[in-house]
Symmetry: D2
Subunit: 105 residues, 4 copies
């Protein structure tokens, strides 16, 4: 399915339930953190719960798409814009095979 069709489905889902009133940017950012915690729980104590992880990742993605919408941003453009910034901070020659932060490269 195309991302724009997914975004359309999400918008209809929210509209039908009249939930846009709760979807302020700070509320959505809170929800992203909450769901990110639930995703992390799928890997707690070194055990992996793959079936749960799929669905929790879906939750994080969903709130990210809703926040992008609320901020009037295209999610693909956002990711590409940030990727350029990160690529500059982590040039291939310096960053290859390293897990150090850019200010320690």
């Amino acid at each position: 399915m195309e991302l724009n069709e997914v975004r359309g489905q999400l918008r209809r889902f929210v509209e039908e339930r009249e939930w846009a009133q709760f979807h302020s940017p700070d509320n959505l950012a809170m929800s992203i953190s909450i769901e990110a915690g639930e995703l992390l729980e799928c890997f707690q104590w070194g055990v992996e719960n793959r079936a749960e992880a799929r669905l929790e990742l879906a939750d994080v993605l969903t709130y990210c798409l809703l926040l992008a919408d609320r901020l009037g941003e295209d999610p693909c453009d956002l990711v590409v814009e940030k990727l350029r910034i990160t690529a500059d901070k982590y040039p291939v020659e310096k960053a290859r095979g390293s897990r150090r932060k850019y200010d320690e490269l």
Copy 2:
């Protein structure tokens, strides 16, 4: 830009830097939580830092796309699959205008 093109750019970015070795599912889930915290910080104390929020949202999205890739999942399919589950838990008639959890509807 199309999502598949974005995903391709992310894959090339990771490959060039030989970072796939660090991108275990649990490490990516940790990174999603870390970036979700930085996104939340853009709304701390009731102040909104929109310029920062855009880029932190991009970071969360980026790690979500990388985790979807690592789990062999299509991000759009994941969101739609979960949306169906949520729609069942929150039927329109019960959920309209309410911010209650499904078990309290």
Copy 3:
């Protein structure tokens, strides 16, 4: 130093700066999540930054103490109350050496 002396120092720190007005329970819960993310970052990609971790742990603890105060709770009593609940969910004989959740024991 005694915990009550620490709590007193925190209260004076907040009072002098007139920050209690920002310390609503939800704002403090947000700050705990933000600092928990910064703590987690000290362990990102399997590297441990111990010097940073100490101070980020201090931040999480600080906001926890402030939230306990705001909710009118004694932090020690809270921990002990919850420990009893957890001990019931994880009886020694079943839980010994296991990292499973209580509903899978």
Copy 4:
């Protein structure tokens, strides 16, 4: 109850269950993030669930005490050490009544 007595109870709880093997610093930091997310959920969508919040705060505090133990740190000393650093970054005259970050004061 005294904090040292609480810490002793926590240690016995862990020892009886032979759980110290799972309590690496990174695993404990993950657990702090997970529980911080559950605490935040008690304030999702602007609703406050006080009864849940108390117990989730207890969970965050518990893992913080366990991590302090694991790092060989006294939790009270940690908080006071960090408070001094924060007091320097936020001098009373500049910070009074302001919710700005120290680099914007």
